[in-house]
């Protein structure tokens, strides 16, 4: 997995490439937490190029969302493919996150 970080105004956009799984989840977590400590509060994580996310990856997203909310911010997710959406629906995490069809929609509505 790798990810690209960019800024759109005050919104941090993190585009994940590859699988977000137990072996690499800490890299994403560290990246977001560093930005949170640096003052960023609005985050979009885009999964347009992500095959699947395992339970550890889901757990990191839950943990990050909580930490960001505690700082008055918000984490949005975008571009989940059909399989990823099903994973979120099975685990009911689709009720915990604001999920948009693509990153443009996530950025526009922030």
């Amino acid at each position: 997995m790798s990810f690209q970080v960019s800024k759109s105004g005050e919104i941090s956009l993190i585009e994940v490439e590859g699988q977000l799984i137990v072996g690499n989840r800490q890299e994403l977590k560290q990246q977001v937490l560093e930005q949170l400590e640096g003052g960023d509060r609005k985050f979009v994580i885009d999964f347009a190029n992500t095959g699947y996310i395992d339970s550890s990856g889901l757990g990191v997203l839950v943990s990050l969302s909580k930490k960001i909310r505690e700082q008055g911010g918000e984490l949005r997710l975008s571009s989940l493919n059909e399989d990823l959406r099903t994973l979120f629906e099975l685990t009911k995490l689709d009720t915990l996150f604001r999920i948009t069809d693509d990153k443009v929609e996530a950025l526009e509505g922030f």
Binding site: V22, G23, S55, G59, V62, K66, D83, T86, L90, T91
Partner: protein, 146 residues
């Protein structure tokens, strides 16, 4: 049903993706049910390995995890065994209940049961067997009983 593939992995979560790829390539080349294998089986096996390493072996790199894969008559079976003291799977809470939804962990076993046709543990609780019937349904139609 004979064993088609046996792997002994060190406890290192970074090894999981490569090991699952190896198993998938073996299964996919022989079965031809790519979607059901690549979704249900891949995710289920990844969760089983992750649980075995992180919880069973307590992330101890001196301990290994053994994976046995067999495939016969449209049934894929994977057994994952760790060196831990085991656990009682009936004590794992439902992660989809409202009070558990914001917890960062506890979804691995749930996903296994959702995605595989059968999931069972040995009496000690340090060995899980996953069963996927290739013709049982479409992607994400699992439904092992808790």
């Amino acid at each position: 049903m004979g064993r088609d593939l046996v792997l002994e992995l060190p406890t290192d979560v970074h090894s999981i993706e490569r090991a699952v790829d190896l198993v998938m390539n073996r299964c996919l080349s022989r079965a031809g049910h790519a979607r059901r294998l690549d979704l249900n089986f891949r995710v289920g096996l990844t969760e089983a390995l992750s649980n075995a390493m992180l919880y069973g072996n307590a992330d101890d790199p001196s301990k290994s995890v053994v994976v046995e894969i067999s495939h016969e008559a449209g049934v894929i079976r994977a057994t994952v065994r760790d060196h831990g003291s085991g656990f009682d799977p009936s004590t794992v809470p439902d992660p989809t209940r409202p009070e558990n939804l914001a917890r960062p962990c506890g979804r691995g076993l749930f996903l296994m049961r959702q995605l595989l046709d059968e999931v069972w543990f040995n009496d000690r609780g340090n060995e899980v067997t996953l069963v996927l019937r290739l013709d049982a349904g479409g992607p994400f139609e699992g439904g092992a009983e808790a």
